[in-house]
Symmetry: C2
Subunit: 252 residues, 2 copies
Amino acid sequence: MQQYFVNGKAENPVTITDKDTVKHMFNVMRLTEGDEVILVFEDGIKRLARVLDPAQKSLEILEKLDENTELPVDVTIAAGFPKGDKLDFLAQKATELGASHIWAFPADWSVVKWDLKKLGKKTDKLAKIIRGAAEQSKRNVIPELKLFEQKAAFLKELVSFDQIFIAYEESAKAGENTVLARRLAEINPGEKLLFIFGPEGGISPEEAAAFEQAGGMKVGLGPRIMRAETAPLYALASVSYALELNAAKGTS
Amino acid sequence: MQQYFVNGKAENPVTITDKDTVKHMFNVMRLTEGDEVILVFEDGIKRLARVLDPAQKSLEILEKLDENTELPVDVTIAAGFPKGDKLDFLAQKATELGASHIWAFPADWSVVKWDLKKLGKKTDKLAKIIRGAAEQSKRNVIPELKLFEQKAAFLKELVSFDQIFIAYEESAKAGENTVLARRLAEINPGEKLLFIFGPEGGISPEEAAAFEQAGGMKVGLGPRIMRAETAPLYALASVSYALELNAAKGTS
């Protein structure tokens, strides 16, 4: 069933005001009176709803649904600004794979330089991609998007995480292959995890030192060299596999 | 260091004849006498080599390198033909993530219909993408590419696998979350694994039954609904995490 995010608190009946959502509901999907959809307000609870009046864009809430597709931990992906539209791709896929926060920052080896105007445009485009991907993948929340203009502002955020993993290519090359699995085995539900990735050129040694200073651990993500936009997908799939599949295996 | 695949058996000295490789070596990278690269012949062994004569496209092999980036198991990704250029994307990412074979077949719910001419063009394009991705990600082998014209030919191949996993969306929706992890915990090095994915619409119930008949197990890949081109990346990352990272954690 089609799912839509609705801004604000749950109300019944509800009138849809977001233009893109109205367009998708009534022009693309051509919903009519009695059609059912799932609405997710900002409380992250899925609710079954039925169209009351397509002209008024109004729906009646029928019941709460007990369906949660969120990872048991809060995962932030932070990527050095990559070239081209790779961040679009990364935002879509990271949303499908369960990230709670999708961040990007100007890394030492980022080739692109994005000023405030460019960052504003990027933010608008990425927000739409993330919202659409969150609806399609049946998420309970829309991942938070944050593009940092200055790296210093990103660095200030590091204190708020329980675990910081630095995807450092040199660690992978040196054969590091135990830190991530060891840490994930000890993680508690609800913990805040941050994975930091470089742009195409990787994380600079100075950045790696700064992230370590803030409590980060360098981790290898297997022996193959992944592109900047692929490594975050590996990390998210690993978190899901470790905490949603492998953990379930032991208890059922 | 730049890595190139070279057709045929290892010889010393070696003359590069593949046009794309010649172009990349001597026009793009502008290699000159004495420059070093890594060459990988069809035996999958990496060898350090030094340019002897750029005009002759000749290189001298210096030594074998003890570097293996292949997964400990042989993983085949088989996808129902997806729309547009999603197979390009999938081929590139599956190569980075360690797949040994990248297959696609006309699934019941594939929207696209590819005739032999189209399949020929697709094969040429995908082969280049896969080769490039294998060089960039430092693989020891170039994944095999196979596009099946008929589903029947694909079905005949199923007998050759040790484990067949069916990424069936209905299983994920029903909360199936233990089969993959249980199986991966019992896997032996060198086993042949097949993961089957549907196109955008998913695997049809008839296909799921045929794959089960051939020994396939339906598996859920976490509670979120992934796009057709994203689910294979989750599967490959899970295999790597389970067999390369989580397994290493216990033994070191």
